[in-house]
Subunit: 372 residues, 2 copies
């Protein structure tokens, strides 16, 4: 049986999702307010485990696409996301038994909760990125053979499209991207339609629950004046995200950030408070991609590189980075399903144009500790 989300659980989940957003994914804040309004109106969000549904039940993952900043200026009416789901149901000639996130990090952790509350549709506790990534083809679903097509895309004006790029998920991403821009910069999508058996085979399980536990751990650490990073590491221990570790503590001394082809690209430089010559440079494309300490790679995509407020552990997104902030760079190991050769082909360093190979963050840490 599913579990109904409480207001406190929702807030915890939103903060944990911002941690898993690894600098990107869009601030869940606006999405959280939308879901809160649903809960206050008496509606419920029912989160169900990945093994709850029968094998052949239809699952339609849901998300927003585009710039989350658009939502701040023009809050969603709550019609576009429903229109996207209904259009894909109609196209497939089937009714969805559940929705789920394609991306548990950032704003898109909230969008399926909103849709679930609006329609009384359960939300599966799993996702297709295990974090945040910038493009629709960067999904474990895609890695393990699920086509993203047919997908639906809708605006809040009521226009909706079905895109079918057959098994070419990169092409689907491109077609959906131009539609998103023409729809005003933000749109609602349902993609990777699949049955529950396929969700079990291809999704990263338990990520909504993990986000909620991360948020709760940070909240409790603050209340008790405990170290938030120790709380985080304890929360991750024993999960499929087993390694959580502090990479660096410092102060932001330089930010180079520009919008290129619809992405926030750039890098942030932190200097150690103890030794200003000791520096960490993090390169990002919406999400943090690689962290280098004094030129050496210490963490690289798809492992999670999180920039957190040193005092509170609160996540700081790339757009909120500012000179002088005291940040702790915290790395989280991705689950094994995201570290296979096929997964690394899809969203490993080369997929972002990085020349360095993927080396698991815990192995990089062990090397560093061994002084090699």
């Amino acid at each position: 049986m599913g579990e109904n989300l409480t207001l406190e659980g929702l807030r915890d989940l939103a903060e944990g999702a911002a941690v898993l957003g690894t600098g990107g994914g869009g601030d869940p804040y606006i999405g959280r307010l939308l879901v809160e309004r649903q809960l206050r109106a008496g509606r419920q969000v029912t989160i169900i485990p990945v093994d709850e549904l029968p094998d052949d039940a239809l699952v339609l993952p849901s998300a927003m696409m585009g710039a989350p900043t658009v939502f701040v200026e023009r809050p969603p009416s709550g019609q576009g996301n429903v229109a996207a789901l209904r259009a894909l149901e109609k196209h497939l000639g089937r009714t969805a038994a559940a929705t789920m996130p394609i991306e548990c990090g950032g704003l898109n952790s909230m969008m399926p909760l909103l849709l679930g509350a609006q329609l009384g549709l359960p939300v599966i506790d799993a996702d297709g990125m295990g974090r945040a990534f910038p493009e629709l083809q960067m999904e474990t679903f895609a890695v393990y053979g699920v086509p993203g097509s047919p997908m639906s895309i809708a605006s809040d004006h009521g226009d909706v499209a079905i895109i079918d790029a057959r098994d070419d998920n990169v092409r689907m991403e491109r077609l959906a991207r131009v539609m998103t821009v023409e729809m005003g910069g933000a749109a609602y999508i349902c993609d990777y339609p699949m049955d529950a058996a396929t969700v079990r085979r291809t999704a990263v399980p338990g990520t909504l629950g993990l986000a909620e536990r991360i948020g709760a751990a940070l909240r409790q650490a603050r209340a008790r004046h405990d170290d938030p990073f120790e709380a985080l590491t304890a929360t991750l221990s024993g999960t499929i995200y087993s390694h959580g570790l502090v990479l660096f503590r410092g102060k932001v001394v330089d930010i180079d950030r520009r919008t290129v082809a619809g992405f926030a690209r750039g890098q942030v430089t932190l200097a150690s408070l103890d030794d200003p010559g000791d520096r960490m440079v993090i390169t990002f494309q919406n999400e943090h991609l690689v962290a280098r300490r004094d030129g050496e790679v210490v963490a690289i995509v798809p492992d999670l590189i999180c920039t957190l407020n040193t005092d509170t552990g609160a996540p700081v997104t790339t757009e909120a980075l500012a000179y002088g902030q005291r940040l702790t760079v915290y790395a989280i190991s991705t689950p094994e399903i995201m570290r296979t050769p096929a997964a690394l082909d899809c969203f490993g360093p080369a997929a972002f144009g990085l020349g360095e190979p993927y080396v698991p963050v815990e192995r990089l840490a062990a090397r560093s500790a061994a002084g090699t």
Copy 2:
């Protein structure tokens, strides 16, 4: 019963469609070759009158969207147009009884013939523009209440989308336009799905047949060394395009042509051979929009302004205009269905940003003859 198009009929139709293209619509040449190949392979194009089908038969108009020049560099594989039709059939859950042009002028006169030959689908002798226009909402279908949505759009790569902008045809045009660009600059569409009764109520009837007769008249005039413009006027007389008249004869002395927001915009200036001070300036946006003689409007959209070779009557498109060409500017009155207030709202002068009101070309000619 329908009539099967001959090779000669096809060539005549293509030339007549270029005349009705009123300077734009894309040269039908490539499309004609594609249809010729079908005819040579033993397939048939069956053109049926608008009253042939039962009221409730489904008609799916078909066309290409984007830059016809793309076809020259990358000839259509013959899969994209079929994919567009099949996708819309599937979406509607119905099978098309016929296709038809949305635009009888230029290349899009040929695209339904190609699809008809490929699939053995009859082509209705009627269209939605009665000439060529640059955008999807500029249709008599739209003027008389038919939504363009849902529409399908497909590339030759096999990706296909269904766009549903409900009754907002301008929005549909915009969404389809960005998809076309992302699909490589040219795409195949089926839009304005409707039943045969609605075609009869909203289409411009007989325009394929008229194009064929125009082409035949020009061909025969050449063979007999008759005046091609007299032949053209005689052909139009008694049709719904009743007035055909020579506006000007001259030599191209200036061309200002630039590509703005995907359109070929500009103007061409002709000087009279007898009196170089006597000039005609034609302003175009893909198609010719307004012709001014010595500053006075002598023809304006939606009446047809055609630039034809003075010796042969062969149509010259805006992209083929060149300094020194000897051209005859020939105007054709649009049918009454395209002159109602609702029609003029959709594709009259103001729809193209022109300040002048619409005055029928035959009335302007009468004024001019009366010396007012």
